[in-house]
């Protein structure tokens, strides 16, 4: 079994390595300092298991996982993360609270090795974790080979695209594998309004509203872009803008 350790503190990785010495069936194929290295290692080595810290430079553990199509099994190692704890409590994926004992570590490993099915519910964890204040303020996306962190204030609008959502910024658009409903719930409602089945808009950018056909409108953005506004979208907009 191949595993990767991702933690920004060398000593924290040391302890995982030490505890793993007694498990000859598990091979450490990479150690990573941050989420970027972690992502690269996971793509390169396709490990079966990762030990993942949450608070790391630039992108946190959750944000890194979001960027992986089919994540391996995960054991989170963290010191203290209110949102994370909440995320874990309802799910089977195991987590180790630093500092953790060898016994606790072995127990987590047993769980992964013997009940692999049950530990695969990472999606639900990511969903809960994304409501943390840090993640509510930004979106992490893949941009070709690079990773981009988009502060939500820089988002102009979102467009539905099958299983993905297109995120439009001044630098072009990026894809994120999430639902429109997800963004509608996580983005600040005073700032973003779902004006249409396929569009969520940053209301800062609206310069004008034109009547279009019966019961529908066009929102004109400061960028010159025109977006359709449905009837329900229009009433939501009116409410937020206080018209």
């Amino acid at each position: 079994m191949k595993c990767v350790i991702i933690d920004d503190e060398p000593l924290a990785r040391t302890i995982v390595k030490e505890y793993l010495q007694h498990h000859s069936d598990i091979e450490i194929i990479a150690e990573c300092n941050d989420g970027f290295e972690g992502l690269k290692a996971i793509q390169q080595f396709q490990p079966d298991l990762i030990f993942l810290d949450i608070q790391m430079p630039k992108i946190n553990g959750f944000e890194m996982l979001e960027l992986i199509e089919t994540p391996p099994q995960v054991i989170f190692t963290t010191a203290f993360e209110e949102f994370a704890i909440k995320a874990f409590e309802n799910n089977a994926v195991d987590y180790l609270l630093k500092p953790f004992s060898k016994e606790r570590f072995n127990k987590a490993l047993q769980k992964v090795l013997h009940q692999p099915g049950e530990t695969k519910k990472t999606d639900a964890i990511l969903e809960t974790a994304s409501y943390s204040p840090q993640q509510a303020a930004r979106v992490v996306v893949k941009d070709g080979g690079k990773i981009r962190i988009i502060p939500i204030t820089q988002i102009q609008y979102l467009e539905a695209a099958d299983d993905y959502v297109k995120i439009f910024t001044a630098d072009g658009h990026f894809l994120k594998k999430k639902t429109m409903q997800y963004f509608e719930q996580t983005l600040l409602q005073q700032q973003f309004v779902r004006i249409h089945r396929s569009y969520i808009i940053n209301i800062q950018l609206i310069t004008r509203m034109d009547a279009y056909e019966k019961d529908s409108y066009l929102a004109i953005l400061s960028t010159g872009q025109k977006l359709p506004v449905s009837k329900t979208g229009y009433s939501k907009l009116r409410e937020v803008l206080g018209m």
Partner: protein, 346 residues
């Protein structure tokens, strides 16, 4: 309980003198009406002593009970009733003493109205003064209490602000120690020592504890050493100071959260080596300390609002110095600089 104004130094003397004056006045007036010397003396002494006693009675009454509503009607009613009682008692008393002197009795009878008026005015004045005096005392006590409550609240808030130890820091440090015990036990012991010294510093209870810059910088180094064990490969620090600033005093533990903030900001917002620099110098009547950390202007924006400790530091400075302009931040290229000015105190 409110202090009676009779217990003020000099007041009883004045009170006695006041009644002696009226005794003298009444004695003279009575002589003009043709009563005997003895009658005038007995009458004026008895009347005024009894009236004085009534006044003391009412002062004491007011001391323990102050009406909350209809204050002035209360004063009026009490004065009226007390004057009536006083008149009845004094008339009966004097009648019993001099019941054989027709002339005196007629003077006594005819002067009843003026006696009542005089008593009513006296008691009325005294009770009004008492009312005002004790109301003011009550208010002052309330004010003091409010001030005391505010002081305690401020102290508690300051204490809390000082105590904001990041659980992250503590648990991650313990985790590092746990890792070191396996491989380098000596180093682990050393780190436990450092962590203990650091924690002892945060546990100090005295609120107005001020340290010299030198002591605070030593404490910071302790903290930075612990952080370097965790992030040794990435974290570097530069501490610079003017020699003449070292003896300046500043509130204990004021700098540590600023530096902690800078480290967190620097370490989690950038990748690679992080240099945290601290500069201290004295300018006019201020101790100026700047803490700088690298950051990424493109992604830092959303971070500033969440979880970073500058607002609480600002609040603490406000509670200590009553000023809102002592903490400033600026961005210089890829560096985020926090500037703190500490007014010199005598």
């Amino acid at each position: 309980m409110a202090k009676s104004f009779l217990s003020n130094k000099g007041t009883p003397l004045f009170f006695g003198f006041w009644w002696l004056l009226w005794i003298f006045v009444q004695w003279n007036v009575l002589l003009k009406f043709g009563v005997t010397e003895v009658q005038a003396i007995v009458d004026s002494y008895a009347s005024n002593i009894l009236l004085g006693a009534s006044c003391i009675l009412i002062i004491n009454n007011m001391r323990y009970y102050l009406p909350k509503h209809e204050k002035y009607w209360y004063v009026f009613a009490v004065s009226f009733v007390l004057s009536c009682v006083w008149l009845l008692v004094i008339r009966t008393l004097l009648w019993l003493i001099f019941k054989n002197d027709e002339h005196y009795l007629s003077v006594l009878k005819n002067s009843s109205t003026i006696r009542f008026g005089f008593a009513f005015l006296m008691i009325g004045c005294i009770s009004t003064i008492s009312l005002l005096w004790f109301t003011q005392q009550d208010q002052q006590m309330g004010d003091n209490q409010k001030k005391e409550i505010e002081r305690l609240a401020k102290e508690a808030e300051l204490y809390k602000l000082r105590q904001q130890l990041q659980p992250h820091f503590l648990f991650n440090s313990l985790n590092s120690i746990s890792a070191l015990t396996g491989t380098q036990p000596e180093k682990a012991r050393h780190m436990i020592q450092q962590l203990s010294d650091f924690l002892r510093g945060t546990l100090r209870k005295e609120d107005h504890h001020w340290n010299t810059l030198q002591e605070e910088l030593q404490y910071l180094e302790l903290y930075l050493d612990i952080e370097k064990v965790r992030f040794g490969h990435r974290l570097q620090t530069v501490i610079e100071f003017d020699e003449n600033s070292l003896a300046t005093k500043l509130p204990a533990l004021l700098l540590q959260p600023v530096v902690e903030n800078a480290i967190k900001f620097g370490l989690y917002d950038t990748i690679g080596e992080v240099v945290i620099s601290i500069h201290a110098k004295k300018i006019d009547k201020f101790l100026e300390i700047s803490v700088s950390n690298p950051f990424d202007p493109e992604t830092a924006q959303p971070l500033q609002g969440t979880g970073f400790g500058l607002p609480s530091i600002k609040r603490r400075l406000f509670l200590l110095f009553g000023r809102n302009d002592l903490l400033q931040t600026k961005q210089d290229n890829n560096f985020f600089i926090t500037l703190i000015q500490i007014p010199e105190t005598v």
